[in-house]
């Protein structure tokens, strides 16, 4: 009974803002700004086409998808082999290096955003998706290494050896045997990376201004000198949360395992 009550309270607290957001995206400007919250209203569909088509926010969805997708893929491509090495091989300074990967996440992003801006400006990547992808990969990479090390450590060493005895080269062993075995962990890690990149605001805000803007950066554009366009803000926010909801449902089982188990065991 207590558990159920707690659950209900948590659900209400967690879902009310989202419900509010969802409702606002269908409210007229008048309803949205009403002094007393309006629960019953005639829904309007004007905000979605207005913001995504007329104001050209649709390409931002594509930008966000590309940035999150490529940054995730890049971080996995580099981080997964690195994590394997951390899990299986011993070398001088291994644990220090491993810790160093984590320290890259300790500095507040605002402290590195200016150097990053100057750097990308110097190499001519300002206002490109590439700059945001690279920026997001900086934090995703350490996440991949930290999470995947635990997953590889969970695979018995004998599996590596069995694969070699069965005729694999070391590369074949890694690609054909270990990666499939680590796939659930990789899926969880990938989703987490995707979400972090998808939600990221600060780097994207500083690094891109026009065509390459991501969805999160687009939202402040709806705060105009004539007032905030709450209906459109809500519409963009609803679309922005959709992939996260879908992904989380897809991999929630692995996600929990990955977050509690894989990460801790590193």
């Amino acid at each position: 009974m207590v558990a159920l009550a707690t659950l209900v309270v948590v659900l209400v607290i967690a879902l009310t803002p989202y419900l509010w957001l969802l409702m606002t995206s269908f409210k007229t400007r008048l309803d949205a700004l009403a002094d007393a919250p309006v629960w019953l209203f005639t829904p309007t569909l004007e905000h979605y086409p207005m913001v995504f088509l007329d104001k050209g926010y649709l390409p931002m969805v594509g930008n966000s998808l590309i940035v999150a997708g490529v940054s995730t893929a890049l971080s996995l491509a580099i981080g997964v082999p690195a994590a394997y090495v951390f899990a299986r091989h011993d070398f001088a300074g291994k644990e220090d290096l491993f810790f160093f990967f984590l320290t890259t996440r300790m500095a507040p992003p605002i402290s590195v955003v200016v150097p990053m801006f100057l750097f990308f400006g110097y190499v001519g990547l300002i206002d490109t998706r590439t700059s945001v992808i690279l920026a997001h990969s900086t934090f995703n990479l350490s996440l991949v290494v930290w999470m995947m090390r635990g997953f590889f450590a969970d695979i018995p060493r004998e599996i590596d050896e069995a694969a070699q005895m069965d005729g694999h080269t070391r590369a074949g062993m890694f690609l054909r045997v270990l990666l499939p075995l680590a796939a659930p962990g990789m899926a969880a890690t990938a989703v987490l990376c995707f979400i972090l990149s998808w939600n990221e605001f600060l780097y994207a805000l500083i690094l891109v201004a026009f065509e390459s803007r991501t969805l999160t950066v687009g939202i402040p554009g709806l705060v105009t000198p004539h007032g905030t366009l709450w209906g459109q803000v809500a519409a963009v926010a609803v679309v922005a949360t959709l992939p996260i909801i879908v992904f989380t449902f897809l991999v929630q089982r692995h996600l929990v395992r990955g977050l509690t188990f894989g990460a801790v065991k590193g």
Partner: protein
């Protein structure tokens, strides 16, 4: 074709010397058992043969060819691991078929070979299962099937029976022996269990501290152990070894004197297996009187722990021997140590004296 370890030394990064000038040569077709206590280097020797561990120095040769630097896949060897190391994400069928697929065996051939091997190991019913749904014994069979399906020159087994329960271990042991007789594949089997070694091996290599102590048939190992270490390691209960010295044709130890004619004067360990001591109910010429300490029944045998001063011996005899039941702890027994059953080991080196 001969398989040879030539002066192989392995030093691990932490300084542990696992193998120290290890020498061993055996012929293909044999069932070679690497036997030794933990830390003797037997598993390391097996892994170096497989190519899973590089040797620090020395060479591995197969048929005169130096394979020391070949990767595992080019050695024509397979391996059964102690924890089976099956691929959890593949079915039993795919696990067995895997080495064939990796090695590029034509597709139409794979199915027949997988099914033949599965039938040989009596696991054809389990083909669709995942490793997680198998019992220990079944997983073990799948691991053996995977190791044999591609007909390797040598099949290595690293303590493959130690995770099985006692009854299953005996059954699997017999199966392995049958497999070896049928397939004529060379087996190299690592174990610390002397009974496993004695029953399975055509020859046993006894290792101690990273070196080969003796390489012989089980019969020779039992009857002519090359050193005190081998003598005490093989046979349960362990061989009795009495420290003493030979002087003037007589062996003298604390509490025992024995005629050993024709022997040079030296300090020795005198060994005799518990099952070779003859038990007499009454005093007899050449027999020594001992006091019975503890009786242990190990049907169909009886173990007698006897004492004479500081000297303690174990005697193994038939449990149904006449008059044995009447013997109570504290009773006097008379033991004869037949001369042809005695082993002499040098006191300093532990080596067998001819």
């Amino acid at each position: 074709m001969a398989v040879a370890f030539r002066n192989v030394t392995k030093v691990f990064p932490d300084g542990t010397v696992a193998l120290d000038g290890f020498e061993l040569t055996f012929e293909t077709g044999e069932f070679v058992v690497l036997l030794g206590p933990s830390g003797s280097g037997k598993t390391t020797a097996c892994r170096i043969l497989a190519g899973l561990e590089p040797a620090t120095s020395g060479r591995i040769e197969v048929g005169g060819r130096d394979i020391t630097d070949l990767p595992p896949r080019e050695r024509g060897m397979s391996m059964v691991f102690q924890n089976y190391a099956l691929y959890a994400h593949k079915s039993v069928y795919d696990n067995i078929a895997y080495p064939l697929r990796v090695r590029g065996v034509p597709k139409q051939e794979i199915d027949g070979r997988v099914r033949d091997t599965a039938r040989l190991l009596q696991i054809d019913e389990l083909m669709g299962r995942r490793p997680g749904q198998l019992s220990g014994g079944q997983a073990q069979r799948v691991a053996v099937a995977r190791a044999l399906v591609w007909q390797p020159d040598i099949c290595l087994m690293d303590e493959p029976l130690s995770n099985l329960d006692a009854i299953l271990r005996l059954q699997t042991r017999t199966e392995l022996k049958r497999l070896h007789a049928e397939l004529k594949t060379t087996f190299v089997f690592v174990t610390h269990d002397q009974e496993e070694a004695m029953t399975l091996g055509t020859r046993i290599a006894v290792l101690k501290d990273g070196s080969l102590v003796q390489f012989d048939t089980p019969r020779e190992i039992y009857h002519r152990p090359a050193s005190r270490f081998v003598a005490e390691f093989i046979g349960r209960p362990a061989m009795n070894v009495i420290d003493g010295a030979i002087a003037g044709g007589r062996f003298r130890a604390d509490g025992l004197e024995l005629a050993l004619p024709g022997r040079a004067d030296q300090a020795v360990g005198l060994g005799i297996r518990p099952e070779h001591i003859l038990l007499h109910g009454r005093p007899k010429e050449g027999a020594q009187a001992f006091r019975l300490d503890v009786k242990e029944l190990v049907e169909p045998d009886m173990l007698l722990f006897v004492r004479r001063g500081a000297l303690a011996l174990v005697v193994r005899t038939k449990a149904d021997l006449a008059g044995l039941d009447a013997l109570e702890p504290g009773a006097e027994v008379h033991l004869e140590l037949p001369g042809e059953r005695l082993h002499l080991f040098d006191a300093a080196s532990g080596l067998r004296q001819p």
